[in-house]
Symmetry: C2
Subunit: 239 residues, 2 copies
DNA sequence: TGGCTGTCAAGAGCAGTGCTCTCGATTGTG
DNA sequence: CACAATCGAGAGCACTGCTCTTGACAGCCA
């Protein structure tokens, strides 16, 4: 990756970043569907057609924001994981779960952009999948480390039809360079990730409105149950 | 509810329905954000400003579609439930879960409208909550019937902080005229409903793309696990 | 240094949008 | 019958994404 050389290249990458920053600001305040290229250009003191030099269409700008959002939440989860002692599997698991929720609460529009209704004419480019996989990969890494330390007590086996589907997952996970997770635990992690997504989305999308006042306490309880489901035991070794 | 009397009232309610039908058609094919009042009017052979006699704004039309969607999926779940023998609690539970998924697969855009990203400037009117509650209420009814038949083996107690939140739920559920569900089971139903939502949304929103080929088998397995979590036992009595 | 080429922002313009307002025509009611 | 309410049509406003052309500038080769 060469340094930025010419003044042109430098200006280009800088303006690209500024466009994304302003777009992200508008996304955060007005929502994705209200994101207007003209408004972004106006705010940047530039004419709207100029933006098309940097992003071929509004969808491409949104795609860039989507990738950034996936990377942001992925980074937050990875950081929360890394702050824990490597052998504290239960603590790492809880930290990852809370990182997902906390990021969602802090960036609800961006969360909705990546985990809410898919955009209609929009087919996720290959670029997004790597970034999108960071959160589930972080969750899997905790379980793999736990399994490698011999502290995992995976749930009992699956019925045949479900087991075949999980087997299919195994090959994908191996692509993620995350061998070492027992297949039975893999199914449990899938359940847990689904549950985690469901809880945060329910809360952020307003489906729990007026039902609870301390949603964090409920979330905290659920993360513990999920750890139990997967078979993460609080026992820890030196990391 | 008086019969439609004058020709004007009759024409009004008919055109209102036609507008919603055409809007729903466009919603299904082009998605919510592409729903255009002008396009609806064009298709109905009427000028766009005429629609404002029936719906004050685009958001109001969308609200009507949201309520209809909540009622449609609620009705589908209630019907699936009613087709089972009253004492077949496990069968009723599975039927309800599959009804949610099947309706979502058949109406992905409408599903996204009610369960996906919330619309930005949009505050759900009170009218929607009754319709939105039909699905969870149907799930709860199965559990209540099971409990009343003495066939429920609810999970063990919750930690204090979580229990207090579930207690808060109890009053809401009593408003739904669904007394008789043990609080511990209530928490489990909340978890199950969240998980159900997470699974269907993951699938419909494309987050499982390329990971499984038989998503139904996995779903089937999960619904059984959820029934187990709640404490629904296959034992049945005459209904 | 001179000139060519590719890149840039600006501006006009097109087709579309939600929404408002006015204006006749039609309908229901006192 | 006459008045009032309601209706659809149409023009118009401000906005959108996007395209095309134009003229200015920077980078590169001779």
């Amino acid at each position: 990756m060469p340094k930025l050389r010419t003044a042109r290249e430098r200006a280009r990458s800088e303006l690209t970043r500024e466009i994304k920053d302003e777009a992200r600001r508008q996304l955060a305040t007005h929502g994705a569907e209200a994101l207007s290229l003209r408004a972004v250009a106006r705010e940047l003191g530039v004419v709207s057609s100029a933006l098309y030099r940097y992003f071929p269409s509004r969808d491409d700008l949104l795609t860039a924001l989507i990738i950034d959002a996936y990377d942001a939440i992925g980074q937050q989860v990875e950081d929360a994981d890394a702050r824990r002692r490597r052998g504290d599997f239960l603590g790492r698991w809880r930290a990852c779960c809370h990182a997902v929720r906390d990021w969602g609460l802090a960036h609800p529009r961006e969360y909705a952009l990546i985990y809410g209704s898919p955009i209609v004419g929009y087919q996720a480019p290959r670029d997004t999948v790597d970034s999108a996989a960071r959160v589930p990969r972080a969750l899997l890494a905790v379980v793999r480390d736990c399994a490698e330390a011999g502290a995992l007590e995976p749930p009992s086996g699956l019925p045949r039809a479900a087991a075949r589907q999980v087997d299919q997952l195994v090959t994908t996970v191996e692509d993620l360079r995350l061998r070492g997770v027992p297949p039975a635990a893999l199914g449990a992690v899938l359940t847990a990730w689904t549950q985690l997504y469901g809880m945060v989305s329910f809360e952020l999308f307003g489906h729990l409105e007026g039902l609870f006042d301390d949603k964090r306490a409920l979330f905290e309880h659920s993360t513990g149950q999920l750890a139990q489901l997967i078979g993460l035991r609080p026992r820890s070794r030196r990391g």
